[in-house]
């Protein structure tokens, strides 16, 4: 598993945009509503409906989420995280190292 998303299901409004943009099809709308009455999105790893752990941590779901309830982590050491205060342009790109031109360590 290269990536992992955590969805705050109590704040999710179930709009389904993350489900539509996920390239690996690993987010599903839950069949149980949250306290506010919405049926929230669920990560494939938690979902009984769509068991899928192929998340790569691309963060497209988090980018389109209107409620900013998705947190994304990635299982790699050579990734630059999006952090407030970073002034240089690259955000979701891998660090270029001399030994790692082909990004072979990326898993």
């Amino acid at each position: 598993m290269a990536g992992k998303i955590t969805i705050d299901t109590e704040r999710c409004k179930g709009c389904g945009l993350c489900v539509a943009v996920c390239p690996k099809n690993c987010i599903a709308i839950s069949d149980r509503s949250n306290k506010t009455g919405y049926y929230p999105a669920q990560a494939g790893t938690d979902s009984a409906l769509r068991k899928n752990d192929s998340c790569t941590g691309c963060a497209m779901c988090a980018v389109i989420c209107p409620d900013a309830v998705i947190e994304v982590s990635r299982n790699s050491n050579n990734i630059v995280a999006i952090e407030p205060g970073r002034k240089d342009k690259p955000s979701l790109v891998r660090k270029k190292t001399k030994t790692d031109s082909s990004f072979s360590k990326y898993d």
Binding site: K4, R11, K13, G14, C15, G16, L17, A20, V21, T36, Y38, G57, A59, M60, A62, V63, I64, C65, P66, D67, A68, I70, E71, V72, S73, R74, N75, S76, N77, I79, A81, I82, P84, G85, R86, K87, L92
Partner: protein, 248 residues
């Protein structure tokens, strides 16, 4: 596991009142991320509009002021002239900026005020119940145009960015969209550039128009609303950089 994406500190840790799939949530997050990335949180003053985003001051953890309908550019003018070291931005919807506030934005641009305007265009009046806005596209069904907007009775959609491009006081105009992650990244770059111009003291107004979905009053699912922006709305409001005096 390393966290690559999480909520930015300037976006307050609370749920929003917006409908599911509303573009305001995305736009708020972009503004908050940009403020944090540029490190200008302590000297930024935002202006909340009248419209759905009227409670923006509850979601953005910067100094904010609420002003009468359509008047953010006028208030921003006063704030920037009295506090030239502050970063002033206004966040306005299309009912606010393109309808009642048309005079204010045109004259603020005409005077070349050094402010940043974020213009959220969702082609309806969302807060009041989905009535026709000046930006409603031809044929679009709204509460006040049940048979679709007709050019003979209701006129054509108002293209604010093209209108302002004619004014020398407006130095940066770009129209972006929120319909997919790639476009959201472009929108973020555009808004960031608009802020950077103000930080660097560029003399003129920077406006970024953001095409944003209103699934509730377009009577669509959030996913269909995003598709409608891409297929229909971008025909009337073509995306791209209309003007960048500093970059030319």
């Amino acid at each position: 596991m390393k966290t690559v994406f999480k909520r930015t500190p300037t976006l307050k840790d609370c749920p929003t009142h917006y409908c599911p799939g509303c573009g305001h949530g995305i736009a708020h997050r972009l503004v908050a991320e940009i403020i944090d990335e540029l490190g200008i949180r302590s000297r930024t003053i935002g202006i909340a509009p009248v419209g759905c985003a009227v409670l923006a001051y509850d979601y953005l953890d910067v100094d904010m002021i609420e002003v009468p309908h359509g008047r953010p550019p006028a208030v921003a003018t006063g704030m920037k002239r009295t506090n030239p070291d502050k970063i002033i931005f206004s966040y306005q919807g299309d009912g606010d900026l393109a309808a009642i506030g048309t005079a204010e934005i045109i004259h603020a641009a005409h005077r070349g005020e050094q402010i940043t305007v974020i213009f959220i265009n969702n082609a309806v009046f969302g807060m009041t119940g989905g009535q026709m806005a000046p930006t409603t596209v031809l044929g679009q069904v709204t509460a006040t145009t049940p048979k679709g907007r007709n050019r003979t009775g209701e006129g054509y959609p108002l293209q604010i960015s093209e209108l302002l491009a004619a004014l020398p006081g407006a130095i940066y105009l770009e129209r972006c969209s929120l319909h997919n992650p790639a476009q959201i990244s472009k929108t973020k770059k555009a808004i960031k550039h608009a802020f950077e111009l103000q930080i660097e003291g560029a003399e003129g107004l920077a406006l970024v128009e953001v095409l944003s979905p209103c699934p509730t009053y377009w009577r669509m699912t959030p996913v269909k609303a995003m598709e409608w922006i891409e297929k229909e709305m971008t025909k009337v409001f073509p995306l791209g950089r209309l003007k960048d005096v500093a970059g030319e």
